[in-house]
Amino acid sequence: MSLTILAVDDSRTIRNMIRLALIPEGFTVYVAEDGIDGLSVLDGIAPDAIITDINMPRLDGFGFIDAVRAQSNHCATPILVLTTENAPEMKKRAQSAGATGWITKPFDPEKLVKALLMFAG
């Protein structure tokens, strides 16, 4: 199964880790550096799932999710939030912003793949 994923994170290291985890599994991975960048990349693609960081310059993860959900063609796209905090408060915020689920950094590549495969049906 070839899934298309958009990964939004301002850390090049994390973006690289995601690519390393997903590309060998046959995923097509688009990356973006922050929320604004993410929206512009999203403009030309229809990802099966989106992974996003929260703390980012220009437009943070919450704002990004809001903007994605506001687009009719992405309102049901699964969005996974990458977070270093395992705090319930953070999850609630992500959820109320419209995130589908979350992955705690540092992530286990296998679990990330599983989660994405599950979300994308």
């Binding site: 090049r12 604004i36 960081d53 049901a76 705690t104 286990d108």
Partner: protein
């Protein structure tokens, strides 16, 4: 070097590169906060820098780094939340923590032991800033427990619940034996809004163990009244009683709070729990999940099916929207080296072409000659541009110095403020790297010896806080870096006295101010009344000067009593190109670095005097300097016996050693591209490197210091003359 095949090692390496950038942003942000000229985004930048380092460090299991960054970040979060002001002790601690973070990053990068003790001490100080310190951190959970599996066979999500309905099974006819789990699940509209999907949850449950699902469709209105955003369905699920409740709850982790969920353990038919408000189970239809699962109407949103082109998924991803940061391409240094080499060849080829065109006697106005001229100009431009690729701003170097200033000034209890100018000035990467040590030393020196203590400063009518200025600028093809303080200036009487005491100058020597100042560059001269931790370790300005010279640079000093001292470094833009004098010696073409050449001399009998056989002196305006016969020293021919009408070059090294080199002629004066010599099986004495001339021949570049030190000629004359330090001796 990391194994190029291991992508993880590459990412790790790039993580540390990214860390350096983040640390730079952190420094910048803190400086803005300290100066009070930041905007609301500044603290976010600072926070994110630490946060990103933590995130990446976690990925590589760099625990000490994660631990420190996490708690540093916790304190910064307080600033972000306006509960802590970044002033006074707080900002000082933030700087210290940034310095420490950078130590940790480098220790992790180089696999060195991390300084845990100082981490703990700093963390304790940071925690003290928090009114209500965070309890010892709640360990971040490795990863969410996603016990996920997928791809149930024969699953057809399009199958409508109504189609699946004609299996009227009474609700109490439970399909699973007791005990089992009874799960009542009613999604709210938020569940769909977050992109969650009951079908997927049900699949996960089915994956856990034997599972019967029935879907209640009674709330489903007629198709015409159906609002796709509204949740109409709810489910009752029976699940294998042997399962752990935690595993079941995990499945619903992401939808917690977005649905009514009731999970009960049923031991027998008599203790069926009453349905909570959540799940009014009216006439549920039992469906064997593997055959069909109901699809909630709300979620079927067609995804755009436009074929997409993952054009460039390689880093760096360029942001298409206007970013404030300069866009930067990361290139392997080796590739640049290769380009520099190729351009070097191009320059050489162009020179060869010019020579051959010259030999056919074309008119200077011919197309060929005009074209050649243009070609030469372009080649030069390309060469300059390529050299600039290796250039980097001095900013990171200056940032490192600001740390040195903080540490050194607090060590000696002086207040010193660093002012930097020209941080964007660019200079060759290698030059920058090799400037760190000499600059560090100069700054420590200035703080240690340059600045008076606060009472003395006040008595002199100066602010008690000293000012250390570090500036960089491009000046006539070179980079000039200046380190200046507003301290007391050089105590010349003291310097003179020490130089006499140490036998560096004769007692009766009368020296000008600038000559005294230059004594500071002599080995073994230290003026500190008391030896301090910082600079009293016998490393003197002579070491600094040697390092600067090794870069092809010069250092000079200027000092005014009571006003301060300034050191000026003049450095070449690059180490790849040398301003050279092309000379001829015994039929060989050689290159001498132009910066050592003072003048050319035409010798006559009278100018040269024999000190002893094989050792000669030449008189240059009343002074005697040793004369070295280059051709003989390099073994190209026997030593000359008659110096009449011969040519020599007067050279001066930066330590003021002067000498005359006997040569046969000067051919040219120009820039040459430096080529390293492979010295794996032979290193020639007196030779620094090589270059390729226009005719394709290799010319050796002379190392004048090596020639004068006499290491070239182990078998012949002994050039170890006593005039090593002619001016003072």
């Amino acid at each position: 070097m990391s194994d190029p095949i291991d992508p993880m090692a590459e990412i790790r390496a790039s993580f540390f590169v990214e860390c350096e950038e983040l640390l730079e942003a952190l420094q910048d942000g803190l400086t803005e906060l300290e100066n009070g000229d930041g905007d609301p985004e500044t603290i976010n930048v600072v926070f994110r820098a630490v946060h990103s380092i933590k995130g990446g460090a976690g990925a590589f299991g760099l625990e000490p780094l994660v631990r420190f960054a996490h708690r540093y970040e916790t304190v910064l979060e307080e600033v972000r939340a306006h509960r802590l002001a970044p002033v006074g002790d707080a900002i000082r601690l933030f700087f210290e923590a940034a310095d420490h973070l950078s130590d940790l990053v480098r220790a992790c990068r180089d696999d060195l032991p991390t300084p845990e003790a100082s981490s703990d001490a700093l963390l304790a100080e940071l925690d003290a800033l928090l009114a209500d310190p965070e309890p010892e951190e709640t360990k971040p959970v490795d990863s969410p427990p996603l016990g996920v599996a997928i791809d149930l066979p024969d699953l057809d999500p399009v199958e409508e619940p109504k189609v699946a309905a004609p299996l009227p099974v009474p609700p109490d006819n439970m399909a699973l034996p007791f005990p089992h789990w009874l799960i009542r699940f009613r999604p709210e509209s938020e569940l769909y809004k977050t992109g969650n999907e009951p079908l997927l949850l049900l699949r996960q449950l089915a994956q856990l163990g034997e599972c019967h699902v029935d879907c209640d469709i009674t709330a489903l209105p007629a198709l015409t009244d159906l609002k796709p955003e509204q949740p109409y369905l709810n489910w009752t699920i029976q699940l294998d009683g042997g399962l752990d409740e935690a595993d079941i709850r995990d499945v619903f982790e992401f939808v917690d709070g977005l649905c009514d969920l009731q999970i009960d353990r049923v031991d027998g038919p008599e203790n069926l729990p009453p349905p909570g408000s959540a799940a009014p189970t009216l006439a549920p239809k039992i469906v064997d999940l593997p055959r069909a699962a109901p699809s909630p109407p709300a979620t079927e949103v067609p995804l755009a099916t436009v074929p997409h082109h993952p054009d460039r998924i390689d880093e760096p991803h360029k942001s298409s929207t206007g970013a404030t940061a300069k866009s930067v391409v990361r290139v392997d240094l080796e590739r640049i080296e290769r380009l520099v080499n190729l351009i070097g060849e191009l320059v050489i080829n162009q020179a060869m072409l010019a020579q051959s065109l010259d030999s056919v006697d074309l008119s200077p106005h011919s197309d060929a000659m005009n074209g050649l001229e243009e070609f030469q100009r372009l080649t030069r431009d390309i060469q300059d541009s390529v050299i600039m690729i290796r250039a980097q701003p001095v900013k990171p170097l200056f940032q490192r110095m600001s740390r040195i200033v903080r540490e050194a000034s607090s060590a000696v209890g002086k207040e010193v403020r660093l002012i930097t100018e020209g941080e964007t000035t660019e200079i060759d990467k290698t030059v920058i790297e090799r400037l760190t040590d000499p600059l560090t030393h100069m700054i420590r020196n200035a703080i240690d010896h340059g600045f008076e203590d606060a009472p003395t400063r006040q008595a002199a009518g100066k602010p008690s806080e000293g000012q250390l200025r570090l500036s960089a600028a491009h000046r006539s093809g070179r980079v000039v870096i200046e380190v200046s303080d507003d301290g007391g200036g050089i105590n010349r009487a003291r310097v003179h006295q020490i130089a006499v005491e140490k036998g560096l100058i004769p007692v009766e020597a009368v020296l000008s101010d600038s000559e005294i100042d230059n004594l500071l560059f002599l080995p073994g001269l230290s003026t500190a009344a008391k030896s301090t931790d910082l600079s009293g370790r016998g490393v003197g300005m002579d070491v600094v000067r040697t390092a600067i010279q090794a870069l092809g640079g010069r250092i000079s000093i200027a000092s005014e009593q009571g006003k301060g001292t300034a050191f000026t470094l003049s450095l070449p833009l690059t180490l790849a190109v040398l301003d050279g004098m092309v000379i001829n010696v015994a039929g060989e073409t050689l290159v001498l670095p132009l910066n050592v050449v003072i003048e050319s001399l035409s010798l006559s009998h009278d100018d040269v005097q024999m000190l002893r056989p094989g050792a000669f002196l030449v008189r240059v305006r009343g002074d005697f300097v040793p004369l070295y016969d280059l051709g003989a020293m390099l073994g190209y021919r026997a030593a000359r016996t008659d110096y009449n009408q011969s040519n020599a070059l007067l050279i001066s090294l930066d330590d003021d050693t002067r000498a005359a080199l006997l040569i046969d002629g000067i051919e040219d004066q120009r820039q040459v591209v430096i080529k390293g010599l492979d010295d794996s099986f032979y290193r020639a004495p007196g030779i620094a490197a090589a270059t390729i001339l226009g005719d394709g021949q290799i010319a050796l570049i002379i190392d004048p210091g090596d020639i004068i030190a006499g290491s070239t000629c182990p078998r012949s004359t002994d050039p170890g003359l006593p005039e090593k330090r002619a001016r003072y001796g």
